[in-house]
C-alpha cells in the first residue's frame, strides 16, 4: 500500500527532485514515468527517429540524475526545463549544432499551467491541439518550422517565399493565440 508522500502523482516534482539529489532511484523512476512520454514525443517529433529520440530521452534524465542538486525552484519549472532541454538537444542533433551545455544554469523556464498530473497533461493536449488546428496555415507553418525544425526567421522566409517581417509577425501572432488560450 502506498503511503502519504510516496504515491504516484501525489509527489511534487520538487520533492522528487530533492530525493533524486540524494541518489534515490525510486524518485528518478517516478519522475521518468511522469514525463518520459512528453520528452520522448518532443524529440521524436523533431528527429523522426525512434532510436535518436530514445537517446535524447536518456540523456535528459541522466542530466537530472547527475545535477539534481543544482536545480533551483525559484528559477522556474522542472517540467518546463525537461521539455525545453529535450527540444534543444533534438534540434542540436538535427542541425549538427553544439551541445547545449550550461542551459541548466542559464535558462529558466516558467510554465503558466500545471502539468504534473496525467489529467492536466490530457487537458493540455486538447487545448494546444485545438489552438494549432485553428491557426491560419502560414502562422502554424512558421511556428512549427522555428520550434520543431530549428529554422531561423531568415530560413523560414527563404523556405516559404514570404518577407522576413511577415514571418516574424506570423510567429508572434501564433504565440499570442497560444498564450491567450492557455492564459
Amino acid at each position: 500500500m502506498a503511503t502519504a508522500g510516496t504515491s504516484g502523482e501525489a509527489r511534487s516534482d520538487w520533492s522528487l527532485l530533492a530525493r533524486i539529489a540524494q541518489k534515490d532511484e525510486e524518485a528518478l523512476s517516478a519522475l521518468y514515468d511522469r514525463y518520459s512520454g512528453l520528452v520522448f514525443s518532443t524529440a521524436k517529433r523533431i528527429l523522426h527517429r525512434t532510436g535518436e529520440a530514445e537517446e535524447i530521452l536518456q540523456d535528459v534524465f541522466y542530466q537530472i540524475w547527475e545535477t539534481a542538486e543544482r536545480f533551483d525552484p525559484e528559477r522556474g519549472s522542472l517540467a518546463g526545463w525537461l521539455l525545453v532541454a529535450a527540444r534543444n538537444r533534438a534540434i542540436s542533433k538535427l542541425r549538427g549544432k553544439r551541445e547545449w551545455a550550461g542551459e541548466l544554469d542559464e535558462n529558466g523556464v516558467t510554465l503558466s499551467v500545471e502539468i504534473e498530473s496525467r489529467a492536466a497533461q490530457n487537458l493540455l493536449l486538447d487545448r494546444v491541439r485545438g489552438v494549432m488546428e485553428n491557426l491560419p496555415e502560414g502562422q502554424r507553418e512558421a511556428l512549427e518550422c522555428a520550434y520543431f525544425e530549428g529554422m531561423s526567421h531568415t530560413e523560414i522566409a527563404q523556405k516559404t517565399g514570404q518577407p522576413l517581417g511577415t514571418v516574424k509577425t506570423r510567429i508572434r501572432s501564433a504565440l499570442e493565440r497560444l498564450k491567450k488560450v492557455l492564459g
Binding site: K23, E25, L28, S29, Y32, D33, S36, G37, L38, F40, S41, T42, K44, R45, R49, T50, G51, E52, A53, E54, E55, L57, Q58, F61, Y62, W65, G76, S77, G80, L83, V84, A86, R87, E106, N107, G108, T110, L111, S112, Q121, L124, L125, V128, R129, V131, L143, A146, Y147, F148, S152, H153, I156, K159, K168, I171, R172, L175, L178, K179, L182
Partner: protein, 273 residues
Amino acid sequence: MTNGEHIREEELELLAAGALTDDEAAALQAHASGCEECALKLAQSRGDVALLTFATKQERPAGTVKAEFMARIRASREREEHFAWPLRRRTSNASEAAEYVTGDKTVNWLNWVLVPAAVALAVVSLALSWQNRRVSQALEKQRHATQALLNEREETNKLVGLLAAGDTITVKLAPAAETVGSGVVKYNGRMGMVVYSAQLPAPPAGKSYQMWLVRANGAPINAGVMEKGAHAIGPVWMAEVPANAEAKAFAVTLEPAGGVPQPTGPKVLIGAS
C-alpha cells in the same frame, strides 16, 4: 536589439520560439543572463512555447528504454561507490594511525608499515581508476554502436515498408539540359517518404547533388543531399517529407556542398510523377 535597457517583447518571443539566428540568440541570451527582468520574461516565454509539445503526437517510449536507463544509473552509482570506498578507508586508517602514534611513541615503527601500505593502496586505486575508465569507454563505444545498428534497422524497416506499400509510385529521372545520368524515385505521399538512387558523375569540388520534391503548388521540398552517409543505405538515399504533399515532379540540382533550403543551382535530373 533592446528597448533602452531591456530586450523587446517581440525579440523575446522569437528567441523563445527558436526563430533567431545563432548570433542573434547568443546576443540576447548574454543580455538576459545579466538582467533579472529579461531573464524572468524569457523564462515565461520559453514556458509558453514549450507547451507546443502538447501539439505533437504523444508516444510512450518502449519499456526496454527505461530498463536500459535505470541500468545505466545503477552502473554509474556502482562506479562512484567503488571509488569512494578505498578513499574512506584510507582516510580512516590515517586518522587512527595518527592517534596511535601520538599516544605512544614506542609504536612509531608502525609508520614503516602504514606509509608503504598507503602508497600501495594509492597505486592500486590509480590502477583501478585507469581500468574503470577503459571499461567505461568501451561500454560507451558499445552503446553508440548499438544505437547505430538500431537506427540502421529502423531505416531498413521504413525502406521495406515503402517498397511493399501498394500506393508507392515510381518516377524515373532523365537528364536535364546537357547533363548525363539517370535515376529512379519511389515516393509514398501517405507515408511522407522518398527513396531514390541515381547514376551521376561525381559532383565538382565544393558541390553536392540535392533531391527536390516539386509540388503542384508552393515551393519545392528538400528531399535530401546525395552525400555519403547522409541518410543513405548503400547507394540508396531516403528522406522524410511532409505527408500528402502533392508531388508534381522530382528533380536533382547541383548545389553548394551540404545543400541549401531552396534550389539555386542547375537541374541535373528531372522526372514528372
